[in-house]
Symmetry: C2
Subunit: 324 residues, 2 copies
């Protein structure tokens, strides 16, 4: 066949109800459903070129060639596409982020969502959005949520077929901001893939999973009703619950740094004083502070004044993966 290519763009997403732990580590089928918001303005663009003339898959990220595990993970996604399309050509994959990889914003969700979207298009596969979300999921669980746009729920599912994400409200539904307090740009000691594997070692993980349907409903309802106080309360609870599991696994995983705790305390105090915002923290030290756009400038100013906050990255509800 002659070379065939496609390019796609996707955003990272911030989880309001977190994903932590897998039913199937290999297929990245989670133990609980999750809800997130895509982060507008932060973008990964990935191009995929299938070409008979090359002798193996290649990967470049921000212009640097990547081999080893990073390349293997990408190849496994390409391979699923190749099998479905019945071809054997290898591919060149080129990915660039417009946000610094070292800023503590997980880039894998955006990267695998863009890769899945571009791969399916380059191969001319007639796949719908859930199928592309499932493909992205195989590369990075949370990437499944960066395929649909706006506010997204990833259904826990029982199998590869039923574990995908879809939009529960479009980005326009609610003008929310994500003000990310960057307190550390250092790489996490324990990556998410290894972290998910440790989740069952916490005596609290079972209780966390069992309680998730309740939190998912609180979060869905808060989004539907555009109820900022209810959203703030449930995202903080959910974030605290995930970190509780992390801190009580064996070995214990501590992602919070002293500055993380200072920002969390500040946000709770601001809310008591009437500034409606809530925090949520992924598997890292930075604090995502969610508020309505009308409060975003005030939140940004206050965050900058919290000792230990290096800078504040601003985002808002964004769209899904799309061809570019």
């Amino acid at each position: 066949m002659k070379p065939s290519s496609a390019s796609a763009q996707a955003n990272p997403n911030i989880a309001f109800i977190k994903y932590w732990g897998n039913q199937s580590q290999e297929l990245r089928i989670p133990v609980n459903g999750s809800i997130s918001m895509n982060m507008a303005g932060l973008e990964t663009v990935t191009s995929v070129i299938f070409d008979d003339a090359i002798s193996g898959d290649t990967l470049s990220i921000n212009g640097k060639m990547v081999e080893g595990k990073g390349l293997e993970r990408v190849s496994s996604i390409l391979e699923i596409g190749r099998r479905a399309a019945g071809i054997h050509s290898y591919a060149q994959v080129m990915s660039t982020n417009n946000f610094p990889t070292g800023a503590g914003i997980a880039s894998s969700a955006a990267a695998f969502a863009a890769l899945a979207k571009a791969t399916v298009s380059a191969l001319g596969l007639p796949w719908d959005e859930p199928a592309i979300s499932r493909l992205a999921r195989m590369g990075s669980g949370s990437a499944s949520r960066s395929v649909p746009g706006g506010f997204v729920e990833w259904y826990v599912g029982e199998s590869d077929e039923s574990s995908y994400a879809e939009t529960i409200a479009p980005a326009e539904h609610w003008a929310l901001a994500d003000c990310v307090a960057i307190v550390s740009a250092s790489h996490k000691k324990t990556g998410s893939t290894e972290g998910h594997a440790l989740a069952p070692t916490s005596p609290l993980q079972g209780a966390r999973v069992a309680d998730t349907p309740r939190r998912l409903e609180l979060c869905r309802n808060a989004i539907r009703a555009r109820d900022m106080r209810a959203l703030a309360e449930v995202i903080e609870l959910d974030s605290n619950i995930m970190h509780a599991v992390m801190m009580t696994s064996s070995p214990a995983l501590f992602y919070w740094q002293p500055e993380t705790l200072a920002v969390m305390a500040a946000v709770r105090e601001w809310r008591e004083d009437g500034l409606l915002a809530g925090y949520t923290i992924d598997a890292g030290a930075n604090v995502h502070v969610i508020c309505e756009q009308t409060s975003a400038a005030e939140v940004q100013t206050r965050l900058r004044n919290v000792p230990g906050v290096q800078r504040v990255l601003m985002s808002s509800a964004g769209g899904g993966a799309k061809l570019v």
Copy 2:
């Protein structure tokens, strides 16, 4: 009757396996068993004088008269003694601590252990140690553990009769040190009594309680075998689990301050580098770092160098409540 008096001394204790949540809030019967070490050198001395000539119970702490809830709590203990002895005399209670009340070391355990011991003696009641432990428990749950000496287990029990503490190893069994990193001398926002009442609101409390027998056994075994690494691991896990429940209750209780987290991280790093120590944190911000006496000077020096540590209070395994 003519005035009758007694004075008793007791130490605070540091819990290795924590008490958090009650089966009966009124009787302070806990939902799980706990294990602690008495803290030598920190002392509360309490004198009780039953006297027909006074018209109500009085309480002074460090020379200052106390009324309201503090006095009521003491009166309820005196009343149990009066009923058992068949008398109606009121009592003067005078209590002094040799450690600052505002230092973040809970004084209620030592205070109610000393009060129970002195009350029983002043009234001439023929009560054994478990009965005195139960009386102390009615004033402050953890006070039950400051009645017996050394390393102590408080049995969860199913009733007032069966919920008491006893020595599982004497203080001489293992030369342990408790190096308390004082990061805050401020009073806690939410006291333990209110905190215990919030425990059931955490979705993680059930799992914490269900897992406690396992942690109790790990802790008992570590003490029996004088296995410092095993002790460090189980006390950190247990402390993390209790704070996980606190942070996920409604409202969320955060006792950790940024400096608390910094000390925790330092202790874990030191252990990786071969300095055997483990942390545990009560319902406050200060960090108790447990190690063998042979490492205590090194731990103290290192703690003083952690930014945010105001001072380091040193203690070791201490005895039980005794008459003075």
